[in-house]
């Protein structure tokens, strides 16, 4: 009997959707993702019109239960106080999904990556904490950027997502391209972007739908490298 303990590189949930595009791939956070599709110039332009970026590689941790909020606070994690809102804190986002479920997502930054918090969270043991349950997550996660994002979302989502209707720290659990998704508006490198999470098994479908509309509107696929200069092969 032999044991392989070398944890292999994992696949983004949209891997199947990337196959025909042959992007330059790289490993971030243990997951192989698309860094670049057509080069900085083209993608920079796309990004300003309508860019779609797969960020499923961001570390994430899910938890729910009546005591989830207090447990997170006991771990010195700042949480949003109202349901369906989110906060950003020291390189990670905390989404409060409904009242008692949380999704914590690490944000990529150039120099340091907030591993610490996720290492701490990974040590969570359900058997020892009453009223708190781990939610295994495998979302497909996206960044939507550029001037035409609302145009795209107005076709794919029935909700009013304009600044006037979607408060800055509010998230919505709704349907995008007819499947369930979490959506919020966020600042990234000083630009307003929209973030989308959906069940990873719908990831390739979602990626293709987002790209189909983005291309019609003058945008397209944008690699991680266009958003995060520190990411490279």
């Amino acid at each position: 009997m032999s044991t392989i303990n070398q944890r292999p590189v994992s696949n983004t949930p949209i891997a199947y959707g990337l196959m025909s595009l042959s992007p330059t791939m790289g490993v971030i956070n243990g997951m192989e993702v698309a860094l670049e599709f057509e080069g900085a110039l083209i993608e920079g332009n796309r990004k300003s019109i309508l860019g779609v970026t797969d960020v499923s590689c961001f570390a994430s941790f899910g938890i729910k239960g009546t005591e989830a909020a207090s447990w997170l606070m006991s771990q010195s994690i700042q949480i949003p106080m109202n349901r369906n809102t989110w906060v950003e804190h020291e390189g990670y986002l905390v989404l409060r999904l409904g009242g008692s479920e949380f999704l914590i997502e690490g944000q990529y930054s150039e120099d340091q990556y907030s591993h610490e918090i996720f290492e701490k969270l990974a040590r969570f043991n359900q058997a020892t904490v009453a009223g708190v349950y781990k939610v295994q997550r495998a979302d497909a996660a996206f960044i939507l950027s550029g001037s035409e994002v609302l145009n795209m979302l107005s076709e794919l989502c029935m909700l009013d997502l304009r600044d006037s209707a979607l408060a800055s720290n509010t998230l919505v659990m709704t349907q995008l391209a007819s499947i369930s998704a979490i959506l919020l508006r966020h600042q990234l490198n000083g630009e307003q972007v929209y973030r989308v999470w959906c069940d990873g098994t719908y990831g390739a479908y979602m990626w293709n739908m987002l790209l189909e509309v983005a291309r019609e509107l003058g945008g397209g696929a944008v690699g991680l490298a266009s958003h995060f200069r520190g990411t490279h092969k």
Binding site: T3, I4, N5, Q126, Y133, E155, C157, D160, Y205
Partner: protein
């Protein structure tokens, strides 16, 4: 031979016209070349060229020209060879168009089908209910002719699939109609800080201000003033050339544009939709050259086209006088103005008309229009004194006037379809002879003509009144605005119908329905407006009664001697205008789910099958092998060595917390409280009527953690039901749906243990990890759950891991099994494998009525528990006799006749006793095996029953025990 006189009818440039005379457009119509200008509609360009016969009517194939120029000239449908049923009155002329009229035989001028018109007396309304059916054998013969006559344009089967974008938009106030009241409403709402969307079906703003000018400038000046304000107001989003297709619940109004649909969700809606001009009814009111007054005005001011050279205006309201002045202004000779009214207060225009030499005939009607020799146009009119009270014409004193056209203005019908759809209550206002809103739902407002306001100044004010009401509704404090009730003569005549013994006085131009048809229908008992509509088909044509319903109501009221309001109206259904499939359908969202191993399957030539939203390998195609052969090979690999299947699509649910066992005991039929950690139990789910819904495996991974696998197609529904029951039972349980978050791989077969053992650090021996074991461990450095299962083989393992690692795990297992000849298999093979073991599958071997007793699942029912869903119903059902039971059967080893199929019937003495649910040749059992429902009296080991195969032969099956082969 050229029939059309081809006068150049184009006028000198008109202020505010919609055409660009610098841009000449060439096109052809019925084989002849013409030119028009950018901004013309097809109809306006043709009329400018003197072309008057633009189409043929549907039923009698009568020549037709311009009627409304407002999107209900549905006799003027053309095809450009690609698209069909193009509405020439509103569709913008494009360069190079090659147009032909639809539904003619030999062209619009010489249409051979016009013969039908001359035998129209044989074909009164409803005639087809009374003909052709007897003798019955001949009906198919007649039907061929009827079917040939049906329909308008010919569909182009090569037309491309177009999917237009459908967008969602939001606003405080949606104003529909950009005439004076709509514009005023939008401006008022916007100036109070509201977000406004304004929509109008015409290409430019202004409504009747564009064309209803009475030969003067006042309307144009008012429009200019409003346009300046519009330009200064940023918070109005304007959609022109776009129509509001219907009103739907909670103020949702789809706006149809050339490029797609915008679904507007408004907080309030103001309908300033105006009114449709209604034709007076007289003999030959349908000839090319007879048109509505507003159509003549549209031709003049929008397109710079002269409607007639010499004309008569027939009217029953003030609008006709305005039309006459506009016609004079356009250089037409107005021979006479015929006013059907006895003593209307003669308005301000009478003097002006008289000064300009127009003779006015009061209390006269147009008795008939006189067709030209070719019957393709008007050569004159016969007018005569008219008693409007009785509707009688004094033909003894008739006068004939020469002219080439007639403008008609007898009244209006409110364009109230959206208001009706919103739930408006109406009353009939006798002062204006119109249905007006009596009650409107919350947040819905009406303004302008549709609200019964006709005075031009009051229309603007009424828009502001509606806007103020909308503002108040939204909580803004503004002063209420009051609008005067209508003063003076009615804008609509109470009965603009002139009888004629020879008929052809048309009410509905779409369907060629004349006055007599209504009288006859009523005589036959169809004297309710809805019955009349169905019997005569009035209002059922493509214009949906926009120019015919009101006259039909008036005629029925007269026949029944009832006031109009007692007749009521027909229901106004969406759409306001016919709307294309490509717009309505839009982009199609065909959501599908893939496991992370999908790309591996694809590369390995998997043949996929849809299971709900999922795409799963059914089997892996090998070149040179049939599907059946492939399945059997995959099955043999599992039986002899090891096979592997992607089960990532299975539902996976964690049930956690102190009450988890109790929860499962209520939700499923079995017992779980005493289940040992590290073991699995069967989980059978029933509905409240005792019917089988789903089954799966419950693995107890920790004291307070059960891990449930449920079937792929039921996963979402099972989780949903768990959530609901949990709310009702209020137990201390947490539910987590990890269907997408976990990958699942099943390796099965005698060598599966060896293959798996290389990758895990646990003892997999039979003694240590027997069937029914489950634990959490590590594989490839990440945590995984391993469950010893027995669905497809006696030795098999499910490995559950985070889905991002599933492909790695799959590859590692494939690698690990190279020596053993590991082979992937799909769902089709899986069905065969489980059949060989004798397992039934919910949804496959059960249907929507199957109870546990019918599939031998008594062992799974813990009837001694205090409660489980479906238990009480089972107690009732248990007392009843069974009428079917699922049995396992084999066919003789040498069976070589027609192969039975799933769903072939079990027949006993000519009576259906059951059916086959699963059947296949089994390579392991080396015979045909299957499951079938039979009557309980047939159920004895070794007994035989008969299956009727597709070709009708009977296959004799023997009931046997399972598994079907020696599995050890």
């Amino acid at each position: 031979m050229s029939y059309q006189n081809k006068d150049n009818m184009r006028l000198a440039k008109k202020i505010g016209e919609w055409i660009d005379r610098d841009k000449v457009i060439k096109f052809s119509f019925e084989g002849e070349d013409y030119t028009g200008y950018e901004g013309d509609t097809i109809t306006s360009a043709l009329w400018a060229n003197g072309v008057k016969v633009l189409g043929r009517s549907f039923k009698y194939h009568r020549a037709r020209g311009v009627l409304s120029l407002a999107n209900h000239d549905v006799n003027i449908l053309v095809t450009d060879g690609v698209d069909t049923n193009i509405r020439a009155d509103v569709v913008t002329l494009q360069s190079g168009m090659t147009l032909k009229v639809v539904n003619t035989e030999g062209g619009v001028v010489n249409d051979k089908k016009k013969i039908i018109d001359s035998i129209s007396a044989l074909l009164p309304v409803g005639f087809y209910y009374k003909a052709f059916h007897s003798p019955a054998v001949l009906f198919p013969f007649w039907e061929k002719f009827i079917r040939k006559a049906a329909g308008l344009g010919v569909v182009n089967f090569n037309y491309p699939r177009i999917t237009q974008r459908k967008l969602n938009a939001y606003c405080d106030v949606l104003v529909i109609g950009a005439g004076p009241s709509g514009l005023s409403a939008a401006l008022m709402a916007a100036s109070n800080g509201l977000e406004v969307i304004l929509v109008d079906e015409n290409q430019q703003l202004g409504g009747s201000l564009v064309y209803d000018r009475a030969g003067g400038n006042a309307a144009k000046e008012m429009l200019d003033e409003l346009s300046v304000k519009m330009a200064e107001t940023p918070n109005i989003k304007v959609y022109t050339g776009s129509y509001a297709a219907g009103y739907y619940a909670d103020h949702m109004v789809p706006i149809v544009t050339a490029k797609g649909i915008t679904k507007v969700r408004a907080k309030t809606v103001i309908a300033a939709t105006g009114a449709f001009e209604q034709p007076p009814v007289f003999r030959h009111n349908d000839l090319p050259g007879v048109m509505l007054g507003s159509a003549a005005q549209r031709l003049i001011y929008r397109y710079g086209v002269k409607p007639f050279n010499t004309c008569v205006v027939v009217t029953a309201n003030a609008h006709g006088y305005r039309v006459a002045l506009d016609l004079l202004n356009a250089g037409c000779t107005v021979v006479a103005l015929v006013d059907m009214r006895a003593e209307a207060d003669r308005d301000q225009y009478v003097g002006e008309l008289a000064r300009k030499g127009v003779k006015i005939y009061s209390s006269y009607c147009v008795y008939e229009a006189l067709p030209s020799k070719s019957k393709l146009g008007v050569r004159g009119v016969t007018i005569c004194p008219f008693d409007e009270k009785n509707g009688t014409s004094n033909t003894a004193n008739s006068i004939t006037l020469d002219c080439d056209g007639i403008a008609m203005s007898a009244g209006w019908a409110p364009a109230a379809a959206l208001l009706y759809q919103s739930g408006m209550g109406v009353r009939f206002d006798n002062d204006i002879q119109q249905f007006v809103p009596n009650s409107l739902p919350n947040g819905i407002f009406a303004a302008g003509k549709v609200n019964g306001v006709y005075n031009i100044k009051q229309r603007g004010l009424d828009g502001m009144r509606a806007a103020a009401a909308a503002l108040q509704y939204l909580g803004k404090s503004v002063e209420t605005i009051n609008v005067d009730h209508h003063q003076g003569a009615s804008p609509s005549h109470f009965y603009p119908i002139v009888m004629h013994p020879k008929g052809k006085n048309f009410v509905d131009f779409d369907e060629d329905i004349a006055v007599k048809d209504f009288i006859n229908a009523a005589q036959e008992g169809f004297d309710n407006i809805e019955l009349m509509k169905r019997f005569t088909t009035v209002g059922m044509g493509p214009s949906q009664g926009k120019h015919s319903n009101m006259n039909a109501i008036r005629i029925l009221a007269k026949i029944r001697n009832l006031p109009v309001e007692k007749i009521g109206t027909t229901t106004a259904r969406p759409f306001f205008h016919p709307t294309p499939f490509g717009h309505l359908g839009g982009r199609s969202f065909h959501a599908h789910r893939l496991t992370t191993i999908h790309m591996w399957h694809k590369a390995a030539n998997a043949v996929f099958v849809d299971v709900g939203a999922w795409s799963r390998p059914a089997y892996y195609q090998k070149s040179g092998l049939s599907r059946i052969e492939t399945l059997q090979q995959e099955a043999i690999a599992v039986r002899q060595s090891v096979g592997i299947i992607d089960g990532g699509t299975l539902g996976k649910i964690e049930v956690c917390g102190p009450d988890a066992g109790l929860f499962l005991e209520r939700f499923y039929t079995g017992k779980y409280i005493d289940q040992k950690v590290g073991t699995t139990r069967y989980a059978l789910m029933l509905d409240e009527s005792g019917v089988i819904v789903d089954d799966g495996i419950a693995s107890r991974l920790a004291e307070q953690l059960f891990y449930l696998t449920v079937s792929t197609s039921n996963a979402a529904a099972v989780y949903r039901e768990m959530q609901r029951w949990l709310q009702i039972w209020q137990l201390n349980v947490g539910l987590v749906n990890v269907t997408g978050a976990y990958g699942l791989i099943n390796i099965a077969g005698p060598k599966s243990r060896d293959v798996l053992a290389k990758l895990v650090d646990i003892e997999l021996s039979e003694a240590n990890f027997p069937i029914g074991s489950a634990l959490e461990t590590q594989i490839l450095g990440f945590s995984a759950r391993i469950i010893r299962v027995g669905f497809v083989a006696n030795l098999a393992y499910e490995i559950h891991m985070p889905s991002a690692q599933a492909l790695n795990a799959w590859k590692a297992l494939m690698q690990s099994g190279v020596k053993e000849g590991i082979r992937p298999f799909g769902t089709d093979t899986q069905r065969l494998l489980r059949l060989e073991l004798g397992h039934h599958m919910p949804g496959y071997d059960t249907d929507g009525l199957t109870i546990p007793y019918e599939v031998g699942a008594e062992h799974a029912l813990a009837m001694d528990k205090p409660f489980f869903v479906g238990q009480r119903s089972l107690q009732i059902i248990a007392k009843k006799p069974r009428n079917k039971i699922l049995v396992s059967f084999v066919l003789p080893l040498d069976y070589s006749s027609e192969m039975p199929q799933d769903c072939n019937l079990v027949i006993d003495d000519g009576v259906i006793k059951g059916r086959v649910t699963s059947v296949s040749y089994s390579p392991a059992a080396k015979c045909v095996i299957g499951l079938a429902y039979v009557h309980p009296t047939q159920n004895q080991l070794g007994a035989t029953f008969e299956i009727r195969t597709d070709n009708g032969s009977l296959a004799k099956a023997t009931i046997v025990k399972t598994p079907f082969f020696n599995a050890e």
